[in-house]
C-alpha cells in the first residue's frame, strides 16, 4: 500500500483558525517548512502529534495542567478540531473524542516520531533511568531475566540437593562398611560384598527357623507326659485299692446279715412298695395269713432298715469298680497320646536335613515307659534349638537391614549420578542465557551508539567526538549511561565537556538513531525547529545529514526559522533533489496559517523572459544577480584569482575575468539526458566556453539595464538585454539541474557532480 502522504488538513487545532491544507509533492520524502516565528510551524507539528500520538506535545511542561482545553483554536470547541492525513492509498482523520483522541480508521493511523526543540537534550541530559526508559523498547529483556532467575534458582536448589545426596551416599557407605566389618570383612570390598549379600534370599532363614520351631514344639509336647502318666497310674492304683476295700466291707456286711440277706432285702422292699399302696391289708400278701396284719407295714420298714448297711457297702463297691475302669481308660489314652507325639517328633526329626548347629537326640524316642529318662538326658536341647533359631532370626534381620542399606546406597548413588549429569547442563544453559543476553544488549546498544556516532560524525567530521558509547549500569536496574571520547578520554559524559551546540547535535543524533531502529519505513519523522542552536559552520552539514537520513523514513518534515536555509535551498546550494520547500506566511487571526508560493530565481528569470512584452530592466537585473551567483560558484570551485574586497561584494566585472582563458576553454558539462536500454545514464556534453565568451561580450548589458539608471540604455536595443538574460538562463540550465542542484560533489575524482549525477562539471581542478 502506498502510504506516501498527499495532504495534511488541519481544522481548528491551535493556530489553524481557518482550515489549512499542507500539500505534499509526489516523490519527495523530505519537506522543509520555513517560517519566521509565529507563522504556524509548531501547529503543523502538533497536527502530526495529534493524529499520530493523540496529544499536543508543544503545550506540555508549560504548567498548564491538562492541556486539552487549549487544543482548539480560540473560539472553537473540541468538536471543531480535526486533522486529516490523506495518503495515496487512504485517508485517516483524528478528532477529539472522550476521553482521548479518536482516529478513524485506526489501521491507517500514521506512526509519528516527533522531536521538538525543547526536547532535543532530553535523552542526553536525562537521568540514567529516564534515558533507559526511552531506549528500553530496544533493550528491555526483563522477560528473559525473569526466566533466567528461575534457572538460577533451580541451579541453587540442585546444588543443595547435590550436597545432600553426597552426604547421604557417604553415610550409606559407612553403614555398609560397618555391616561388612561386623560380618568379618569377607571379600575385598565392602560394597561388592554388600551387593552380593543383597542378592541372597532371606526366605531361606524362614524355612530353617520354621523347622527348628517345629522340632522345638514337637519336643515340648513330650515333656509333660511322664508326669501325666505317673499321675494317671497313681490314680488307677488308688481306685484299685478303694475297690478292694469296698469289696471287703461288702463281704463282711453280707456275712453279718445272712446268707440270703440280699434276696430278703429284695422281698422286703417289694413288700414295702405293696404296703405303701395297700396300707391296711386284711392278710399278708406273702402267706395270706390274717394274723398280725396290724402294723405290718411298720414292721417291714424296720426290717428293711436293718439291711441298709449292706446296701451302702454294695453301692460303694460299684463306685470303686467304676473309678478303676475310668482311671484305666485315662492312663491308656495318655500313653497313646504320648506314643503319637513321640512318633511326630521322630517324623519331624527325619523330615529335615539339619544344619550342624542344630543338635539332635542321640537316640530315637524309646518306649513310653522310658520317655522320662530320655527326656532328662536331652533336657538341654530346647535351649540349643532356641539359640539356633535366634541366630537365624538375627541373620535374617541383618540381611534385611543390609539389603535396605544397599538399596538406599544404590538409589542415592544413582540420584547423585543423575545430579552430576544434570548440574553441569543447567549451569551451561544459564551460562548461554547470560552470555546471549549480554551480547544481545551490547550489540543493540553498540549498534545504536555506532549509529549515533556515525550521524554525529557527519555533522562534526574529524572532531574525534564520534566514539559515542551507551552502556547499561551493571549495578543498577534499567539505568543507561552515555559516554563520548573527549581529548583522549573515553566514556566521558558529554554533558560535562560538550558545548551546547555539540550537545544539541548529539541529542538530535540519538533521537534519529532510535527512530531509525523501529519501523522507519512506516514512520513520519517530524523535527520541530531543531536547528536553532546549531552554530553556523555545522548547519550545512547537519542539513546534509538530515537529507541523507530522511530517505529511510516514510516521510520527514523539518520546520525551521533558519533564514540561510531558505536562501541556500533557493539557490540550490544544498542538495534538494528529494526536498520539498514550503514557506509559511505570517499568521493572522483572520487567515490563520498560509503558504507563500516561493519561485526560485532561475525560474523567475525564465518567467520574465517569457513575458510579453518582456521587461529588459527586470530581465537584466535578475539575470545579473543569477550570473553573479554562478560566477561566484565557479571561481570558488576552481580557486580563481579575484581582487579582494573588504565587504566581499564581487561584481560580474570582478568575477568573469578571473575565469582564465585556460579554464574557460576546458569547462564543459555532461548533462544527463536519459538512460540506455541497460539502464545506464546517457550524457550530452556541452562546453561552457561559447556561453562564457558570449556573456563576456554582452555582460555590460547588466550594468546598462539592470543595475543603475543610465541614459545609455536608451540607445541600446532591447535584444541585447534579452540576449543577456537568455545566455544566463542557458548557462544555468547547463550548470544546474531542474531541482536547482549545483555540481559540488567531487567523490568521483574526475569531475564535480550534482546530487543524483544529473550534471558532471569538468575539469576537477583548474588547469595550471
Amino acid at each position: 500500500m502506498n502510504k506516501a502522504p498527499k495532504n495534511l488538513t488541519i481544522q481548528h487545532l491551535r493556530g489553524s483558525v481557518m482550515p489549512f491544507k499542507l500539500p505534499f509533492e509526489k516523490g519527495k520524502k523530505l519537506m522543509v517548512i520555513y517560517g519566521e516565528n509565529g507563522t504556524g510551524k509548531t501547529t503543523i507539528c502538533d497536527a502530526f502529534d495529534f493524529i499520530g500520538n493523540g496529544k499536543v506535545g508543544s503545550l506540555e511542561n508549560r504548567g498548564l495542567g491538562k492541556t486539552g482545553r487549549y487544543w482548539p483554536s480560540v473560539g472553537k470547541k473540541p468538536a471543531d478540531v480535526a486533522v486529516t492525513l490523506e495518503t495515496v492509498a487512504a485517508s485517516c482523520r483524528a478528532t477529539i473524542g472522550k476521553p482521548d483522541v479518536t482516529v478513524s480508521p485506526l489501521e491507517h493511523r500514521p506512526r509519528v516520531e516527533l522531536l521538538r526543540r525543547g526536547q532535543i537534550l532530553a535523552l542526553v541530559e536525562a537521568k540514567p533511568a529516564d534515558r533507559y526508559a526511552a531506549i528500553s523498547r530496544f533493550v528491555d529483556v526483563s522477560g528473559i531475566e525473569a526466566s533466567e532467575a528461575s534457572l538460577r534458582e533451580l541451579i541453587r536448589e540442585t546444588e543443595k540437593w547435590h550436597e545432600v545426596a553426597m552426604a547421604r551416599v557417604h553415610e550409606n557407605r559407612e553403614m555398609i562398611v560397618q555391616f561388612w566389618e561386623s560380618a568379618g570383612k569377607p571379600g575385598k570390598d565392602s560394597v561388592v560384598w554388600a551387593e552380593s549379600e543383597a542378592m541372597r534370599d532371606d526366605d531361606a532363614f524362614d524355612s530353617e527357623i520354621s523347622s527348628i520351631n517345629s522340632l522345638y514344639i514337637s519336643y515340648s509336647r513330650l515333656l509333660d507326659y511322664p508326669e501325666q502318666i505317673k499321675s494317671a497310674e497313681e490314680l488307677l492304683k488308688v481306685a484299685a485299692d478303694s475297690l478292694v476295700t469296698a469289696q471287703s466291707e461288702l463281704d463282711s456286711c453280707l456275712n453279718r446279715v445272712a446268707a440270703d440277706a440280699a434276696e430278703m432285702v429284695n422281698i422286703l422292699e417289694s413288700a414295702k412298695t405293696y404296703l405303701e399302696m395297700n396300707p391296711s391289708p386284711s392278710a399278708c400278701p406273702l402267706c395270706e395269713s390274717a394274723e398280725k396284719t396290724q402294723g405290718l407295714a411298720d414292721r417291714v420298714s424296720e426290717r428293711i432298715n436293718a439291711f441298709a448297711e449292706l446296701r451302702i457297702a454294695k453301692a460303694s463297691k460299684i463306685a470303686c469298680e467304676q473309678a478303676v475302669q475310668k482311671s484305666t481308660q485315662q492312663l491308656e489314652l495318655l500313653r497313646d497320646s504320648a506314643r503319637k507325639h513321640a512318633a511326630e517328633f521322630e517324623e519331624c526329626r527325619a523330615r529335615h536335613a539339619w544344619p550342624k548347629d542344630v543338635v539332635l537326640p542321640s537316640i530315637t524316642v524309646p518306649d513310653i515307659t522310658e520317655l522320662s529318662p530320655w527326656l532328662t538326658k536331652h533336657a538341654n536341647l530346647p535351649n540349643e534349638w532356641k539359640k539356633a533359631e535366634n541366630l537365624r532370626q538375627d541373620k535374617k534381620q541383618f540381611l534385611v537391614t543390609l539389603k535396605k542399606a544397599t538399596k538406599t546406597c544404590a538409589d542415592n548413588t544413582s540420584a547423585l549420578k543423575a545430579v552430576n549429569i544434570m548440574l553441569p547442563r543447567l549451569k551451561r544453559a544459564l551460562e548461554i542465557s547470560e552470555q546471549e543476553r549480554r551480547h544481545f544488549t551490547d550489540v543493540t546498544l553498540g549498534k545504536i551508539a555506532t549509529e549515533v556516532g556515525r550521524l554525529y560524525e557527519m555533522v562534526h567530521p574529524g572532531e574525534g567526538l564520534d566514539k559515542i558509547s551507551l552502556a547499561l549500569d551493571p549495578d543498577k536496574r534499567a539505568s543507561l549511561e552515555i559516554g563520548a571520547s573527549f581529548c583522549g578520554q573515553t566514556g566521558a559524559p558529554p554533558q560535562a565537556y560538550f558545548s551546547d551546540s555539540h550537545l544539541d547535535t548529539l541529542g538530535l543524533c540519538v533521537f534519529l538513531a532510535l527512530a531509525a531502529l523501529d519501523k522507519p519505513e512506516e514512520t513520519i519523522l517530524v523535527l520541530d525547529d531543531v536547528l536553532a542552536s546549531v552554530d553556523e559552520p555545522h548547519v550545512d552539514r547537519l542539513i546534509e545529514m538530515l537529507y541523507a537520513e530522511a530517505i529511510i523514513f516514510r516521510h520527514c518534515i523539518i520546520t525551521t526559522h533558519y533564514r540561510p536555509w531558505k536562501y541556500k535551498l533557493r539557490w540550490g546550494w544544498l542538495k534538494s533533489g528529494q526536498c520539498q520547500f514550503v514557506e509559511l506566511a505570517k499568521w493572522s487571526n483572520q487567515a490563520g496559517i498560509s503558504i507563500i508560493r516561493t519561485v526560485p530565481d532561475v525560474q523567475r528569470l525564465k518567467d520574465l523572459l517569457a513575458e510579453e512584452p518582456p521587461d529588459p530592466q527586470l530581465i537584466c537585473s535578475k539575470a545579473g544577480y543569477i550570473l553573479e551567483a554562478a560566477l561566484n560558484f565557479l571561481t570558488l570551485l576552481y580557486e580563481c584569482s579575484t581582487p579582494r574586497k573588504l565587504e566581499d561584494r564581487y561584481t560580474i566585472g570582478d568575477l568573469l575575468p578571473s575565469i582564465s582563458k585556460k579554464l574557460r576553454q576546458s569547462l564543459r558539462v555532461e548533462v544527463l539526458i536519459g538512460e540506455n536500454g541497460m539502464g545506464e545514464p546517457i550524457y550530452d556534453t556541452v562546453s561552457l566556453t561559447p556561453i562564457l565568451d558570449e556573456l563576456t561580450r554582452i555582460a555590460e548589458a547588466r550594468n546598462v539595464y539592470g543595475a543603475h539608471f543610465k541614459e545609455l540604455s536608451f540607445e541600446l536595443l532591447d535584444n541585447e538585454a534579452l540576449a543577456f538574460g537568455n545566455q544566463v538562463s542557458i548557462l544555468m540550465g547547463i550548470l544546474t539541474d531542474s531541482d536547482g542542484c549545483w555540481p559540488r560533489n567531487s567523490d568521483s575524482g574526475e569531475y564535480w557532480a550534482t546530487s543524483g549525477g544529473t550534471r558532471r562539471l569538468h575539469p576537477l581542478k583548474r588547469p595550471a
Partner: protein, 58 residues
C-alpha cells in the same frame, strides 16, 4: 515490532538446542514463555532432563 525479549529468547533457545541441552520441540514450546518471563524452575528442569542423552532423572 518483535520485542527484544522475544528476539533474544529465540537466540538463546537456538543455542541450547545446538548444544543438545534441550530438544527442538521443547525450544518451540518454551519460546513465548521464556520471553514473557514465565519459565519456572520446573520447566527448566523438565526441558534439560528431556534434552539429556540418557534422559537423566533427579
Amino acid at each position: 515490532m518483535i520485542s527484544p525479549s522475544e528476539e533474544l529468547s529465540k537466540k538463546i533457545l537456538e543455542k541450547l538446542v545446538a548444544e543438545v541441552l534441550i530438544t527442538a520441540d521443547d525450544a518451540k514450546k518454551m519460546s513465548s514463555r521464556m520471553a514473557a518471563g514465565k519459565l519456572r524452575a520446573d520447566d527448566w528442569k523438565l526441558a534439560i532432563e528431556k534434552g539429556s542423552p540418557g534422559g537423566a532423572k533427579t
